[in-house]
Point group: C2
Chain length 111, copies 2
DNA sequence: CTTTATTGCCTAGATTATCTTGGCATTGAG
DNA sequence: CTCAATGCCAAGATAATCTAGGCAATAAAG
């Protein structure tokens, strides 16, 4: 966990974070989670019970595709990569986030 | 609705927005929703089916208290105000939001 | 050699917050 | 007289996350 308790905040943001992670090249599930946590300086934690269902969902929607390969450490791993549709989705979700986050911050955060 | 489609992003943020709204003085439910929408320039929409359950939840948790009164337009309305506990909750959630939003923005948004 | 942590994937069920869609009552405007 | 806006409420659906497990292989530590 990152901060005090539950991260209900992650809701609706995980997909975009995964898509963004994959926009830098293919990665396997475990690697995606580790990358997001590191890139967020542990402010965002990605539980496996959220990650894998999210990956299936996104694959079903045609945003990402997977194939089996071998990880850097020589282990069997499923690598995901973005599709064109996924790239468009990332752009849309990024725009939504920017607008939403700015609005909420303007309300919540003192100047 | 604000942007393209669903606002899954609101998840976990509504409570803080309501608390913040009430930190400026007591308001009734309907007024809270309108204020948040206006303050966010329609980037955030607050459905009544989300609002009232949220208010009950927060009252149950001792963050807010309610009493019946009369609205500016002379109608019967239930006015909510912050408790000391609610004020502390607002501070905590604001901190969480700041940390989370900054981390996500750093990942998602191009420089 | 044995134990433990790490990597890596997966699933079932619970939780919880939001949204959808309804209803009700009053007031003001057209 | 009708319709939009104000104001409250509830039942059920939806959907995403988390909890808590299981499995297997490797590397490090004892």
């Amino acid at each position: 966990m990152a901060e005090t308790d539950t991260n209900a905040l992650l809701h609706g943001t995980l997909d975009a974070l995964i898509l963004k992670t994959l926009s830098g090249g293919a990665r396997h599930g475990y690697g995606i989670a580790r990358w997001i946590e590191e890139a967020s300086e542990e402010a965002v934690s990605v539980e496996e019970g959220s990650l894998y269902p999210a990956l299936y969902r996104m694959e079903r929607r045609g945003w990402i595709e997977a194939e089996w390969g071998t990880s850097e450490l020589g282990r069997k791993a499923k690598f995901y990569h973005l599709t064109a549709k996924g790239r468009r989705q990332l752009a849309a979700e990024t725009r939504q986030w920017a607008r939403f986050a700015q609005a909420v911050s303007k309300i919540l955060l003192p100047i």
